[in-house]
């Protein structure tokens, strides 16, 4: 018996658009946060910690921890504060330490 209803079938989202993450095609809803689109596509490992090379991904989800930083147009930006747009070219900071 459920006392908290399942609302997942009642959520309407914007159209899916395609962008790339380290050259792999990824689909996300236009306007949603890049971190969420990457998580949904199974890309949790976004960067390696610079000191020990350990895998890292989105953690605080509010622009503080810098763990979800990815590269767009040569700039390091927080994927939790970036927005999915068609044709976006996103690079990870994996294996670059």
């Amino acid at each position: 018996m459920r006392l908290v209803p399942d609302h997942s079938g009642r959520i309407r989202r914007s159209a899916l658009v395609e962008f790339t993450f380290d050259d792999a095609p990824v689909k996300g809803h236009a306007g949603e946060s890049l971190a969420v689109a990457l998580i949904r596509a199974g890309h949790l490992h976004l960067r390696d910690a610079p000191e020990d090379g350990a895998p890292r991904g989105a953690f605080c989800c509010m622009g503080l921890c810098q763990e979800c930083v990815i590269g767009i147009d040569g700039l390091a930006v927080e994927s939790c504060r970036e927005i999915v747009a068609p044709g976006l070219v996103v690079t990870s900071f994996r294996g670059r330490a």
Binding site: V4, H7, S33, A49, C60, L64, Q66
Partner: protein
């Protein structure tokens, strides 16, 4: 030309937005700044434009009401604006904000700080694994994107937030592997009398817990997740029973899941107040270090006011009233007479704060929880510094947060120490047998948020900035 306003408000959650509205109603020009696109703060975070339609929630409705109020007011809202420096200039306050890839100054005669809170997470082995999110962090995904961090999610932490997170996961169609919480059922029974003034919240919480029990989701009371398994992504966790002081006892049990939401209460975000020169006081019952302020939010620094969770964790309901008090206080500073209205608001705030601080008390970690951080556990995520490395620095003579920071770079990384300094300060206090009140956080340095070097080197155009609407006569 310099952007000018009577009152600048940093943070547009329930506290800051209400401060802005209250001050604007007194006839002052008010600029409300937030790093999110829309007002709401973390608690009433707005949905992204990717959500075209979704069932209503109490948080969404409260946020929509606030956003409407701001829109209809004379308050100028600047979203996606990150304040990174605060300095006194010629008897006013000058803020530097990053907006649209450029940085620009804003000068205000009075400043209201409503920067909210951040999450405390007691580090456990593997907490840096991709797929581990903060408990409050997970709610940002729920509210903004109605999205989940995984399919089978383990929810672990203190206070009411674990049950809200578990309920939201189920509402959004996910599976809760288990709820693991250091609080006991007895802890909750003891606070029931304090919750009675808010029967709506009491019933909502009871429904969340009843739903988990009716659906067969295990709730491990007085337990904590002690390690995360998986390496490059979460595969599961180990968890253990806790003693009454929350130190781990008993054998480790296992749980499988593809993500973990982990959090141990909130900490006031005080860096902006520190930069403005406001002294801190230690109030563990309010979440730790709190900018010194009176009940209306006036600080020791003339023209600087503080409200909401950044003045001590008292929750959203109290923050709304505290924001109005601080906004009226700022108006008083600029010449309005707001004494009568503030007198009426104070008892309302006190009542809301009593409920909020009861929830805070459930969320604050007890001393034994620090034992979850083993010698090999990374404490400083930015610099990958383990507990043993930091302990060695402390044993070598570093006796303050500043000393550990300069000696080891713990707290000097990209996050600015936001996720390690509390743990480091407690280690310093414990090493010397000192009180936590004797180990203040490090001296804050600008930038408060990362600023790209290209932005600092480049210039900006004033035409890119919103011009404050004139105050109503």
């Amino acid at each position: 030309m310099m952007l000018q306003t009577d009152i600048a408000v940093i943070g547009a959650g329930p506290a800051g937005a209400n401060a802005a509205l209250a001050a604007a109603r007194q006839g002052f020009s008010v600029m409300l700044l937030d790093e999110q696109p829309l007002p709401g703060g973390q608690v009433w975070r707005a949905k992204s434009t990717a959500i075209l339609d979704a069932p209503a929630t109490p948080e969404g409705d409260a946020g929509d009401r606030l956003r409407q109020s701001v829109k209809r007011s004379s308050v100028t809202y600047a979203g996606d604006a990150r304040v990174w420096q605060i300095e006194p200039v010629e008897g006013a306050w000058q803020l530097h904000m990053l907006k649209g890839g450029r940085t620009a100054p804003l000068r205000a005669r009075a400043l209201v700080i409503a920067t909210g809170a951040r999450e405390f997470v007691q580090p456990v082995p593997g907490w840096t694994t991709p797929g581990v999110l903060g408990l409050a962090g997970a709610t940002a995904l729920f509210k903004q994107e109605l999205a989940l961090p995984g399919k089978r999610i383990i929810v672990s932490g203190t206070g009411p937030l674990v049950f809200y997170v578990a309920a939201e996961i189920r509402r959004l169609g996910g599976e809760v592997a288990a709820v693991v919480t250091p609080n006991s059922q007895g802890d909750w029974l003891r606070v029931l009398p304090a919750m009675l003034p808010r029967p709506d919240l009491l019933m909502r919480g009871a429904r969340w817990i009843a739903d988990l029990m009716a659906s067969g989701v295990p709730i491990h009371w007085r337990h904590a997740v002690t390690r995360v398994e998986g390496g490059s992504r979460v595969r599961g966790v180990g968890f253990r029973k806790l003693a009454p002081d929350w130190s781990p006892i008993g054998t480790s049990q296992g749980l499988e899941g593809d993500s973990l939401c982990l959090g141990n209460g909130l900490i006031p975000a005080v860096e902006a107040a520190q930069l403005a020169g406001v002294a801190l006081a230690y109030h563990p019952e309010l979440g730790g270090w709190v900018p010194r302020h009176d009940e209306d939010g006036a600080t020791d620094v003339p023209g600087v006011f503080i409200c909401g969770d950044s003045a001590g964790i008292r929750g959203a309901a109290a923050a709304e009233i505290h924001g109005r008090l601080a906004g009226l206080c700022a108006a008083q500073h600029l010449g309005a007479d707001t004494r009568k209205e503030r007198k009426q608001l104070r008892p309302i705030h006190a009542r809301a704060a009593r409920f909020g601080t009861t929830m805070t008390a459930l969320s604050i970690p007890r001393a034994g929880l620090a034992q979850l951080t083993t010698e090999e556990t990374v404490i400083c995520r930015c610099e990958s510094l383990t507990r043993s490395a930091i302990a060695a620095e402390i044993a070598g003579g570093a006796r303050s947060s500043n000393a550990v920071k300069s000696g080891l770079r713990a707290g000097m990384g990209a996050c600015g120490g936001k996720f390690c300094q509390t743990t480091v300060a407690r280690m310093i206090a414990a090493a010397d047998g000192r009180a936590e009140a004797d180990v203040p956080p490090p001296t804050p340095r600008p930038p408060l948020r990362p600023v790209p070097v290209s932005v600092l080197a480049g210039d900006f155009e004033y035409s890119d900035l919103p011009i404050p609407k004139p105050a109503p006569l």
